[in-house]
């Protein structure tokens, strides 16, 4: 049977390599096929939410950022270069939004104490079921955000420097200090 790759439903590609399935899902999403969107969502939304949460540490804000990032990516799918993987593209959108939200919160913190109430208490973070996630969440912003960008989202130090508008050496030293703090917390 000859299957037209441009019209094949995503389910037909179940046994194909992941990158093929992703391209199939992007093509399906472009056709307006909900199965394609469903595949992309299930594959990429959880990491997007997790990254957003690690950056802002606020469930409601993380949900907004992941959802708005995903919807923005879907809305701009026509412009997406299909030769490249969808995941890193979505992660970049989400990372930018999460960093903007974290910066805005830092600005608001100077204005009043109210937003701080929305942040989880240290004891709540320490009580997370996953010890690694808890340890990362407890790091200060300047170490936690580069760690999340590097190790969860897979950005290179150069890309992180660009996203955070920092010199590359500063990113490297913050990553190093963060990893040292993690290793101390987890041993």
């Amino acid at each position: 049977m000859v299957v037209d790759a441009d019209t094949a439903p995503v389910v037909l590609l179940r046994n194909a390599p992941r990158s093929w399935r992703e391209r199939g899902a992007v093509r399906a999403a472009l056709r307006g096929d909900a199965a394609g969107v469903d595949w992309l969502f299930r594959e990429h939304w959880p990491a997007a939410y997790r990254a957003a949460w690690l950056i802002v540490r606020d469930e409601a804000a993380a949900e907004d950022i992941a959802q708005e990032g995903f919807l923005a990516a879907l809305g701009a799918l026509e412009r997406f270069d299909r030769a490249r993987p969808f995941g890193p593209w979505l992660r970049r959108i989400v990372a930018r939004r999460a960093i903007d939200a974290a910066r805005a919160r830092a600005v608001r913190r100077e204005v009043g104490a109210e937003p701080l109430n929305a942040l989880p208490a240290r004891e709540e973070l320490a009580g997370l079921p996953d010890d690694v996630l808890a340890a990362v969440a407890l790091l200060p912003d300047e170490q936690r955000i580069p760690i999340a960008l590097r190790h969860l989202l897979g950005f290179t130090p150069g890309e992180i420097a660009e996203l955070l508008d920092l010199p590359r050496g500063t990113v490297n030293s913050r990553l190093r200090r963060g990893l040292d703090a993690l290793s101390e917390a987890l041993t």
């Binding site: 969502f41 949460w53 939200a101 600005v107």
Partner: protein, 369 residues
């Protein structure tokens, strides 16, 4: 991939599963709302234009929370001393309804008239032929001259009566549910569980879709076949709901944030209230997609006019706002502030164009032709 990366990719963040359950149907609803690429090709620009417009609007609205906060706080403040309205006039025309312990008052260009006794809330029928009022456990429909036409009662207090856009039915809340009754008082029936914010009718072609809140969930139901068209979770219990005139945007107002949903319940935009302030009420204008927001800060209130993504804080009021409604033509806005009604003429691009005040005779309710 590093071991740390593997561990982080497999760990579940707090709230992740619940957020996934909420976000997944919305993403699918969005794609169902958009026509496919092939169909778009065939239908060319005729189909492409509205989709592009929708994406453009979404693109404009989908800004980060941080950008929102900065844009909300505008320096363009126009604090004006209101000019008292002469007793025999009503800027904006029509008939303004206020209600309270002193009775139900209709104010026209001839001045205020008390038409009925002590009531809780009141709402005009769409063409202003009748008024639905609540009095404890009673729902009463009266004529504009105060003649009682019919009434019904429940075991629990009745709140938030809302006439359907074609006047055929009245929706109201009572006993943890949203009820519907025909405009002549017949066929009173419970539609679904609901509480909190006042139900609002969607101004869609069929005029049969009703939005209400159930706990933290915003629900759009078809009142004819009782189908739930969408159910979207909010972070907190909604205080107010309002549809844009074209029925394509729903404003969901929570105490500390605002969400703008599309007609499928997908979240397009979220904005958080700045520190020290809280949302009080808000509503779309009678035409277009401009909307108005009232925020409280201590004992004062701020009126914000929103045009697309541009927000202008236009009025700082010494007092708490307890109601907001547009004039029938949509060119004036009435604000209930304590014992008075402030009438403002909103210019969504240029701040306010006039501020007047007059005695309220109770709380501000509604404004009819």
């Amino acid at each position: 991939m590093s071991d740390l990366g593997r561990r982080l990719r497999h760990a579940r963040a707090p709230g992740e599963e619940a957020a996934f359950r909420r976000a997944h149907p919305l993403a699918l609803a969005l794609v169902r709302a958009a026509p496919s690429r092939r169909r778009r090709r065939r239908r060319a620009l005729r189909m492409l234009a509205p989709v592009l417009a929708a994406l453009l609007v979404a693109g404009l609205l989908l800004t980060s929370a941080g950008a929102d906060v900065r844009s909300w706080i505008s320096d363009a403040v126009t604090t004006s001393k209101p000019e008292p309205v002469r007793p025999q006039t009503l800027p904006g025309g029509g008939r303004l309804l206020t209600a309270g312990r002193d009775g139900l008052f209709v104010r026209t260009a001839q001045g205020p008239h008390r038409i009925f006794g002590d009531v809780g809330e009141a709402a005009w029928s769409p063409r202003g032929l009748f008024v639905a009022v609540t009095r404890g456990i009673e729902l009463i429909v009266v004529s504009p001259r105060g003649e009682r036409r019919w009434s019904l009662h429940h075991r629990a207090p009745i709140r938030h009566p809302a006439w359907a856009p074609i006047g055929y039915q009245i929706a109201y809340l009572s006993g943890g549910g949203v009820h519907l009754v025909d405009g002549d008082g017949s066929d009173d029936a419970r539609l679904a569980a609901a509480d909190g914010a006042a139900p609002v009718w969607r101004p869609a072609r069929s005029h049969s879709q009703l939005t209400y809140a159930r706990g933290r969930t915003v629900v759009l139901s078809d009142t004819i076949d009782r189908r739930v068209l969408f159910a979207t979770r909010a972070a907190r219990r909604p205080l107010a709901l309002s549809w844009s005139a074209d029925g394509k945007r729903l404003l969901v107002l929570e105490r500390d944030r605002i969400q703008l949903l599309n007609q499928f319940g997908a979240r397009l935009h979220t904005s958080h209230a700045p520190a020290g302030t809280h949302n009080v009420t808000g509503m779309f204008a009678r035409t277009g997609r401009d909307w108005t927001l009232v925020r409280g800060q201590g004992a004062s209130s701020r009126l914000l006019l929103v045009n697309g993504q541009d927000t202008v804080k236009v009025l700082e009021l010494a007092g708490r706002v307890d109601g907001v409604t547009y004039s029938p033509r949509g060119d004036w806005l009435a604000l209930g502030v304590g014992r008075s009604v402030w009438l403002v003429r909103p210019g969504y691009h240029a701040g306010l164009r006039g501020v007047h005040t007059m005695p309220a005779h109770g709380r501000l309710m509604d404004w009819a032709p």
